[in-house]
Amino acid sequence: MRRLLFLLCFFSLAATAAPEKPPTLQLLPPTVRDDIRVTNHAAKAIESNLKAIVSRLDQQYKTYKVARCDRLTSDEECQNIERNMAQTYEELLEVLSDELPGLRASLTRMRDDLANRIRSKVGHRMTPQELQRTIDPEATPSKKLRQRHQQRGRTLSEGVRSLARLLPRFDNANSSGVSAASFYLDSVVAIETIDGIEAQIPYARTQIAMAESWGGLDDAMLEGVEGFTELYYGSPETRSVPDNYVFESRDTTKDPAVVELTNW
């Protein structure tokens, strides 16, 4: 009896001493974590293949610019450089054609699994006020607030750049509901971006064929080449949240009037 009382006292003290944490929203079960791992693996494979090709394209483009080939269209050396660039560009399109369907498939599985979880755990089960209680602002990743409009690349290289920015986000799966929601939204945008890229590939192939037939790269294709060479050298995204807030700890919660008015 005494031991039971002791245990009861111990556990009640432990419960009162432990800081109150919001209930966690489990949106990342093992199946979804597997989807994320597969997606991440596919994304890294594409990235490493693309980097090697883009690096070669970058060198060729620099040589093209240094030799002022945009002005010397009939120069034999320039024509060689252009042929090499067209061939490298074709290789890049091959990689995208071969690898993107697999990436799309794993992203689609992840998107659909997460959509089901969000609908069942959040959408049909919680009110907006209840959902707020699951958010731990200390654990919310401080990253750029997702743009409300979809980020679709207008050109092939812009699309690939958008995708290259999105894919690293799938590398850090923590258990918070907000993280899972971010993954879900990023997967929706990534799939739309891949659709855009795949729609552009036939057009890009036509440009290469035309360049080979008529000799010389046209402006649109040069723009595409330039876009790809900026792929890994572009400027970082700017945060939409101002960074000038300092974490000073000020305790205003001990006043009884404040405690009473914020107890809801």
Binding site: L114, A115, I118, R119, G123, V178, A181, E248, R250, T262
Partner: protein, 183 residues
């Protein structure tokens, strides 16, 4: 006998006089001007607000006074402003100017890191078809918290918490909008 009679009449008049003197604020003075405080210091402004709001003519002007007090608090931001304004809201509730729920909402909009405007009736998917109204109210409340937490109380950490909570909510609502009604 006569003295006792006169003393009782005098006592009656005194009591009636005291009753009218002790609660002049309850009488509807037609000429009373309900002007929000213009003092630049919060302490005197709160005192004036308390004096004015007990008048019958001013009892429905709480929001005007509240906005004026926030503006005054922002001129000299300090942590203590939040507690002083909390006491004022509590007093207003005790005086019957606000219901208990109104008092919590009024204060929390500006000084709590949580969002009170979120509905608690229907599920998230029920709102998912059009989150614009929800988003508008969240953004409006975030601006109120910026005014209260940041400009009146100078509490950057608390505002940062509110902002992160806002970010998290927007991400979750975006996800629910997409999941509940995929485009």
């Amino acid at each position: 006998m006569k003295i006792a009679y006169l003393a009782s009449i005098a006592a009656t008049f005194m009591l009636v006089g005291c009753a009218s003197v002790s609660s002049p604020e309850k009488s509807a003075g037609p000429n009373f001007q309900c002007s929000p405080p213009a003092d630049t210091r919060l302490g005197p402004a709160l005192e004036q607000a308390r004096r004015d709001l007990v008048h019958a003519d001013c009892r429905d002007r709480f929001q005007t006074y509240w906005q004026a007090l926030l503006a005054i608090g922002a001129k000299h931001k300090r942590t203590e402003n939040a507690a002083e304004l909390a006491h004022f809201v509590s007093w207003s509730r005790d005086e019957g100017l606000l219901s208990p729920d109104e008092a919590k909402v009024t204060y929390s909009r500006y000084f709590d890191t949580r969002f009170v405007t979120l509905p608690d009736d229907y599920s998230v998917c029920a709102y998912a078809r059009d989150f614009s109204e929800l988003e508008r109210s969240l953004v409006a409340e975030l601006r109120q918290k910026e005014q209260g937490l940041l400009r009146v109380a100078g509490d950057k950490a608390a505002y940062q918490t509110a902002f992160h909570r806002f970010e998290g909510l927007m991400t979750l609502f975006d996800a629910a909008h997409e999941a509940c009604h995929p485009s």
